[in-house]
Symmetry: C2
Subunit: 383 residues, 2 copies
């Protein structure tokens, strides 16, 4: 019996959706019915003119959640759409260069690609962005902005340590570039304590230049399609003006449901539940990778959805992914997380291993299969 026979259903080692059991579908349904009872006419009509910043009740709740002025919050159709609008805004000056962690979130790279920006990758270290490499690069001038996922990064799981955050803020102030921090996983910490947010470290005076993008997809419901930006009122209004001439606004019903969920502590309960479900998955995943893949783990994330591994092997990536499918597992192409034209190490293969949607034994099975594939490729390299 081959491994493929043993696993006729492919193990999704590639998913990004939160596990169904962590989405409070019942509470969301209850709040939806409450919105329909309360003001169904508004739910099915256009938002009132001038309300393109987002539902005022929702912005009020998000302001309370983040300790931010509601007028500095822009609500959009998911965080990727917010990033897309933000790129349009931040590139208005004509500067076309954007710097990213390397590797970084693959869909963000796609957004940047569509805007035709010049992408520069700054290496990622196990404790965050390589700030010394950033400092060196800055000698030849700053980018329009730097994009970072500082907490439990997708795809590496890395969190930026506090001293690097301080150094980054200082460099941004010195060289005059904006920071866009994407923080979808920040609340999903399973061990230890959170380093301060880049926005908090920079302080309110820098709110226009240290912009946060967040999402309700990871902490409440992806189906609501609600992401938002935390910045200053001027940036929020500029984003709203762009949204108004692109898609107008997120569905008013979804915004009203989200506002009720935040007010009624549905989100807070959901975050507790997510931590409860994902903590053991995280711990088991770390153990499995350590026992089967040696020192390949980039870091112990202590939160989020992903483990990153650097496999020590020389392999054609397509052949590796094909072999993985034959062994019953689907993987996301590791090179997709690197900016185009980045030099990739010849003797290593990066992979993102999502642990959040798999039971510990499923994850362990996937890692065992991966270990077999690695052995197979190591063998073929010697032949």
């Amino acid at each position: 019996m081959t491994a493929a026979d043993a696993a006729p259903t492919l193990l999704q080692f590639s998913g990004a959706a939160p596990p169904a059991e962590t989405i409070p579908a019942h509470s969301l349904a209850v709040q939806t019915v409450a919105v329909l009872d309360e003001d169904r006419e508004a739910a099915f009509q256009y938002p009132p003119i001038g309300r393109y910043l987002g539902d005022p009740a929702l912005r009020q709740q998000l302001g309370a959640l983040h300790g931010t002025d509601p007028d500095a919050i822009f609500v959009g159709n998911g965080s990727l759409q917010v990033l897309d609008l933000l790129v349009s805004l931040l590139l208005r000056s004509g500067e076309r260069e954007v710097w990213v962690e390397s590797p970084t979130y693959d869909r963000a790279l796609e957004v940047f690609g569509r805007h035709g920006v010049r992408l520069v990758g700054i290496p990622m270290e196990p404790d965050g962005l390589d700030v010394e490499a950033l400092r060196l690069r800055l000698r030849s001038g700053p980018p329009a902005f730097l994009y970072t996922v500082p907490d439990f990064q997708n795809p590496t799981g890395v969190t930026m340590m506090e001293s690097k955050r301080e150094a980054l803020i200082e460099l941004a102030a010195t060289y005059g570039f904006a920071i866009v921090q994407d923080i979808p996983y920040r609340e999903l910490r399973y061990h230890g304590s959170m380093p301060p947010s880049l926005a908090d470290l920079a302080g309110p005076a820098a709110a226009a230049r240290v912009i946060s993008i967040a999402s309700l997809s990871t902490v409440l419901s992806p189906g609501l399609r609600i992401g938002y930006a935390l910045s200053d009122p001027e940036t929020a209004h500029a984003l709203a003006a762009l949204a108004e001439s692109t898609y107008l606004s997120p569905a008013p019903l979804c915004q009203a449901v989200a506002a009720r969920c935040l007010a009624g502590d549905v989100l807070q309960a959901a975050v507790g539940r997510i931590r409860h479900v994902l903590r053991p998955r995280h711990d088991a995943a770390v153990t499995a990778v350590r026992s089967r893949l040696g020192g390949a783990l980039v870091t112990i994330p202590d939160g989020g959805y992903y483990l990153g591994v650097q496999l020590r092997l020389r392999a054609d990536e397509t052949a590796l992914l094909t072999a993985a499918r034959a062994h019953g597992i689907t993987l996301t192409r590791g090179s997709a997380f690197y900016p185009p034209c980045s030099p990739l190490p010849a003797d290593r293969q990066f992979l993102r291993l999502p642990f959040h949607a798999l039971e510990p034994d499923e994850f362990a099975h996937g890692v065992a299969q991966l270990a077999r594939i690695c052995a197979q490729f190591a063998g073929s390299a010697h032949s």
Copy 2:
């Protein structure tokens, strides 16, 4: 007593939202609850991977509605978002010129502006696009695409007559340019019969080059934020790929509600109700403009939301809008409907008068005020 005193609340002569009484909020709420009862987990989760064309049940219903292959339908976040993605797609060849009716839908002009296209206006006549002007212009080469609102155009109310539709299709085939027809008002006919759609005239073989954009906002509910494109499967998939890297998908809940409303004849009933409510408003509005503004009416629309008027006066537009506000009415700037750099006639002022959301006596009051303002400006021109 001044006119402003008589109308302390501003009469919105500028709205675009459907009247609340034509949105079947109760039925929409019933269908929403049905979706929550049936599959709330799917409603609050990401759509399944690969489902970025839109909810299959909704595309099935839309296919039946339009007599189109569901695989040729792409569902997006409102029709403006669909237009935005379509512009990205159609400009991929590098051709940067887009031709539009002049005047045309102001928000479409904003979308084109953001994409940095070169806009060329083809004059609008009372029976549609000036096809002879188009033919002349084509001698120096075709655009990437021509954008038209052929039925009850926003802002003029003009419908393109059948012979012009045939001529346009022939020119597009001869010179090799795409046609994007925006048809949000097509079902809202209050008198007479519909000329064939440009897509039907062109036939299925031309589906990739005669693309329709439609919306549920005018016929069911703007709050669902659902627009769609009818084309061919290749275009639909290309749009879905762009959507996937921009905002992923419209809210699954909204799509499922829409699918149920189409299956359960809620949309069909809503269209009947809209025609019933808007027909007398249309008729009274035409009468009011004819009696108070002489020959200013561009055409008798027989459908849609808007009357267009060309006022014979030489006036600074800002002064005119300010005077209108002083007389208790808000107007949309008429020049906003013309592509940038279009020559505007010096002795006329174009205005869009939406009749759909005003009771006949409100509309008549607004037109009477407008007549007074015109007289005032005519007087000041002589002084």
